[in-house]
Amino acid sequence: MSTRHPGLLRRLLTHRQGGAGLLLLLAILLLAAAGPLLWPGDPWEMAAPPMLWPGEDAANPLGSDVMGRDLLTGLVSGARVSLMVGLVSTLIAAVLGTLIGAVGGYHGGRIDAALMRLTELFQTVPTFVLAVVLVAVFRPSVATAVLAIGIVSWPATARLVRAQVLSLRGRDFILAAETYGMGTARLLWTQILPNALPPVIAISSLTIAHAIQTEAALAFLGLGDPNVMSWGTIIGGGREQLVEAWYVCGLSGIALVVTVLAFNLLGEGLNDCLNPHLRSQ
C-alpha cells in the first residue's frame, strides 16, 4: 500500500546534469575550504617573480600575475568570495522574493497589485546597472556587494512564489486547514510555503550562478572590496597583459565558468527532481 520515493539526494545523483553539477560543486567547495590549509599565504603578497607561467616553478604551480602574486592562492581565495557572495545574496533574494510573492499571492487585490508593480519596476531596470549604482553609492565592500546583488535578484523568485501561492490558494487542503481553525499567518507558514518551496530551491541555484557572475563583474570594474581577492579582481588586473600572460585571465575565467556551470547544472537537476510531474517519468 505504501510507496517509497527514493530520497532527493539519490535522485539527484542519478540525474545526469544534476549529478554532474553536484559533484563539480563539491569539488569547488572542497578546494575553497581546504585551500588555505594547502596553500597558506596572503593572495596579495608578492611571492614570486612577475608573470611566471604555470608550471615554471613548483612553488607557484599556476604561475603569478604582473605583480608577482601567486595565482593559485588568488584563485582559491576567489572561490571563497564567489561562493560566499553567491550564497548570501541568494539567501537575501530568496527571503525577500518569497515574502513579497507569498503576501501578494495570498491576499490578492490591491496589496497584490502594488507588490507586483514594485516587482515589475525592479525587472524593467537592468539588474547589473542597478547593482553598480547601489555599490557605488555605498563604499564598495563584500557586504555592499552582497546586499546590492540580493536586492536586484529577488523579482524572479517573487513572481514564481506568487504563482505557486495563487494555485495552492484554491486547493482543498488549504480549505481544510481553514475548517480546523487555522489563521492566515500559520496557514501561509505551515501549509502553503512548504508546498511552494521546491521551485524556489531550483530557481535559487540559478540565482546563485547569476550572483557569482555579477560579483565578478563588479570586481572587474573595480567596484569589489579592495581588500578581497576575487576572480573578478584577478581578471580585471590581468586584462592589460591579455596577450603576454593570457593565463591570468584565462584560469580565473575558467574557474568562474566552471562554478557557474556547476550551479546551472544543479539547478537543472533540482528542477527535474523536485517536480512531481517529471519525477514519475
Binding site: M1, S2, T3, R4, G170, R171, D172, F173, L175, A176, A177, E178, T179, Y180, G181, M182, G183, R186, T190, Q191, P194, N195
Partner: protein
C-alpha cells in the same frame, strides 16, 4: 427546542459571476439536534456543498457572500462572529471532512504532524503530547499500526486510510458537529461501507451530531435520522428517513428514490431517471424550480413557487404532494 445544536434559517448565499451575482442558496432552512444525523441530499449543483461552506463561513474565501439568513450554533450566531471566535469554533466545536482526502491533506506534511497541528490550534499541548493525541486519534478511527502510520505522508496511505486520517483530524478536539461533504464518493463500495459504519460508530461513541452531505440516497439509508432534500438551492422536502423512504411527498424526492432502487429493476430495461436537467441558476423558471421536469406540474406550479409549510417534522414544498401510502400498502 433546547436540544437544537445547529439551526439554519432562510439562508441565502450568492457568488459573483461575469453576468452579475448568482444566488446559489435561495432560502435554505433546517435544524440539527444534538447527536442527530441529518443527510443533506440533492443532485450536483443543488447547493449542498455551498450550504456546508456557508455554515463555516468558508464561502467568503471562495468569492461567495451570505446575503441573508441566520446560522445559529449552540445559541451563537455564526454569521456575526469575530474572526478569532470563528477560528476557535472551526475545528474546535465543528469539524469538517471532504470528498477527496488526498487533496484535502497537505502532501508534504506527515499525517501525525497534520493532526497534531490541528490539536495544538485549539489546545495548549506540547508537541510531544499533541503527537500522542494524534496517534490516539488514528487508533480511534481504526487505522492499524497508528504509531507507524502517523509517520507516513498522505500519498503513502490507501484511499480508505486517508479518509480515516481526515476524520481523525476533524475529530481532533471532540467537535459537537461533524460536517461530512460527500465523504465516500471517492471511495470504492467496500471502503464506502466501512467509512460509513465508522462515522456512525464515532457519532454514537462521541455523542456528536453529523451533517452528511451526499447525492447518494443509498448512503443515507443506514446512517441518517432525517433527510433534507435540496433542489436548485431550496429545501423541497424534509423529514425522518423511514417516512421519506416509505412515502416521499415531493415528486423530486420520489425521482431520487426511484433512481437508487435497483432491486426493483428488470435486467435489460433502461435505468430510471428524472427527465431533464437541473435548470441553470441564472435562468430559473418563474414558479416551482422542479416544474419543467415534473409529471404532476400544472399551470399553478409554473406561475407560483410552492411555499414550504411551516413547522412539523415532515415538510414538502409542493402544490401536489404524492399521497401518503395506505396503511400496510405500497406508496402510489
Amino acid at each position: 427546542m433546547t436540544m437544537t445544536l445547529l439551526e439554519v434559517s432562510s439562508l441565502r448565499t450568492s457568488f459573483a459571476t461575469r453576468s452579475g451575482r448568482l444566488g446559489i442558496l435561495r432560502d435554505v432552512s433546517f435544524a440539527i439536534a444534538r447527536g442527530e444525523t441529518v443527510a443533506l441530499v440533492g443532485e450536483s449543483g443543488s447547493g449542498k456543498s455551498v450550504t456546508a461552506a456557508s455554515i463555516l463561513r468558508l464561502v467568503e474565501a471562495a468569492g461567495g457572500r451570505i446575503d441573508a439568513g441566520r446560522v445559529s450554533f449552540e445559541g451563537e450566531d455564526l454569521l456575526s462572529l469575530s474572526p478569532a471566535r470563528l477560528r476557535a469554533l472551526r475545528g474546535g466545536r465543528i469539524g469538517m471532512i471532504f470528498q477527496e482526502p488526498l487533496s484535502a491533506l497537505n502532501p508534504v506534511q506527515r499525517i501525525g504532524d497534520q493532526i497534531a497541528e490541528a490539536v495544538r490550534l485549539h489546545r495548549p499541548l506540547s508537541r510531544r503530547a499533541a503527537w500522542g493525541r494524534a496517534v490516539e486519534l488514528l487508533s480511534l478511527v481504526q487505522i492499524p499500526a497508528p504509531g507507524l502510520r502517523a509517520r507516513d505522508y498522505p500519498h503513502q496511505l490507501s484511499g480508505g486510510q486517508r479518509q480515516r486520517a481526515m476524520i481523525a483530524m476533524a475529530l481532533a478536539c471532540d467537535p459537537a458537529l461533524l460536517i461530512a461533504d460527500e465523504p465516500t464518493t471517492a471511495l470504492d463500495v467496500i471502503t464506502q461501507a466501512q467509512i460509513l459504519s465508522l462515522l456512525a460508530e464515532l457519532r454514537d461513541r462521541l455523542g456528536m451530531a453529523l451533517l452528511l452531505i451526499t447525492h447518494d440516497l443509498g448512503v443515507v439509508a443506514g446512517v441518517a435520522d432525517r433527510i433534507v432534500v435540496l433542489y436548485a438551492g431550496q429545501v423541497v422536502e424534509q423529514g425522518p428517513v423511514a417516512e421519506i423512504f416509505a412515502a416521499p411527498a415531493h415528486p423530486y424526492t420520489r425521482g431520487l428514490l426511484d433512481a437508487v432502487r435497483l432491486d426493483t429493476l428488470t435486467p435489460g430495461t433502461a435505468l430510471p431517471e428524472i427527465p431533464g436537467l437541473v435548470p441553470p441558476l441564472d435562468a430559473l423558471p418563474a414558479g416551482c424550480a422542479f416544474a419543467p421536469r415534473c409529471g404532476r406540474a400544472d399551470a399553478r406550479c409554473r406561475s407560483a413557487a410552492p411555499p414550504m409549510p411551516p413547522g412539523g417534522a415532515r415538510q414538502a414544498a409542493c402544490f401536489h404532494p404524492l399521497p401518503a401510502p395506505l396503511p400496510g400498502g405500497h406508496a402510489a
